[in-house]
Symmetry: C2
Subunit: 149 residues, 2 copies
DNA sequence: GTGAATCCATACCAATCTGGTCTTGTTTCG
DNA sequence: CGAAACAAGACCAGATTGGTATGGATTCAC
């Protein structure tokens, strides 16, 4: 099905919730409630996002999580990478040495290109585009146009 | 990592092997040997591909599998769909009713668009592009250009 | 300084998915 | 008929994923 993981999905929902507060510091408990996720699950995702620098964590009373950059400065690709690591469609295109007959394989290079093309597409989409209601066509204007090769 | 499954990867390798024979009928055992896959695994993949109509199975002595369409008539998207079902990045964008708060969620529609964009990109790539040696720039000319929205 | 609120780290578990194997047909041709 | 080849399905083990639990550390309000 060529899918992102559920946790990555949650990440976008949580980030969208944060984005709507526009820079405010929101505790995990409240984000969990708003997004209707279980608190531990939300906390896990938020921690991962914080570790990769997409959001900042603030401890203590009145602490919480906060967006580091403006919603239109955070790409969907960055979110996926934060949650799942490098974007690569096949195992072998991630790094050399994973497949026995890499040397004779003509497919590997092409899979890498395809992966890069997909990544570029996600790179041009931002968190802002994501949480913008779909009806608002103008909002999706930052169109992703790209070519493979 | 946003990846396709290993079986889908195998499918492309097997199809590429078939494509290089250009329409010939090749037994599963030989395809397995060429691609260095275990026979049962290759057989499983081939069966799935046959069921979705990408290849034809011919029984009996001198039987085997055979490409139905020319390599440049089989899209990468079709291969992925054959192995993994409908292309959708998130669970919820596959069909309605899977997520409790679908109605208020502004992300769902946008994920659908992104998924469609990725699918279109894969649609324009063919098996021929895949098994063509990467060095041959001209071969990858059927450029995938697309836009999200 | 104390305590409550909040994040942090880690370990753990259960369910699902994936990749792979095995067994038993069924079809076709020599 | 009998061998070669595919067909179909059950089955299993390991990995991944999603979710839970626990104990600790940090900050602020008072």
């Amino acid at each position: 099905m060529l899918r992102i993981s559920k946790l990555t999905d949650y990440a976008t929902v949580l980030l969208a919730a944060l984005a709507q507060r526009d820079g405010a510091c929101v505790p995990a408990s409240q984000l969990a409630e708003e997004t209707r996720l279980e608190l531990p699950t939300a906390a896990k995702v938020l921690k991962t996002l914080a570790k990769s620098g997409l959001i900042r964590s603030i401890r203590g009373v009145n602490g919480g999580y906060q967006l580091v950059k403006a919603p239109d400065q955070t790409s969907v690709a960055a979110i996926v990478r934060a949650m799942e690591g490098p974007i690569a469609l096949t195992e072998c295109s991630l790094e050399p040495g994973l497949c026995a007959h890499e040397s004779q394989c003509t497919l590997r290079g092409n899979w890498q290109r395809i992966g890069q093309a997909v990544e570029q597409a996600l790179e041009r989409l931002t968190l802002r585009d994501l949480y913008q209601p779909a009806g608002d066509e103008a909002a999706l204007a930052p169109v992703a146009t790209f070519r493979i090769m």
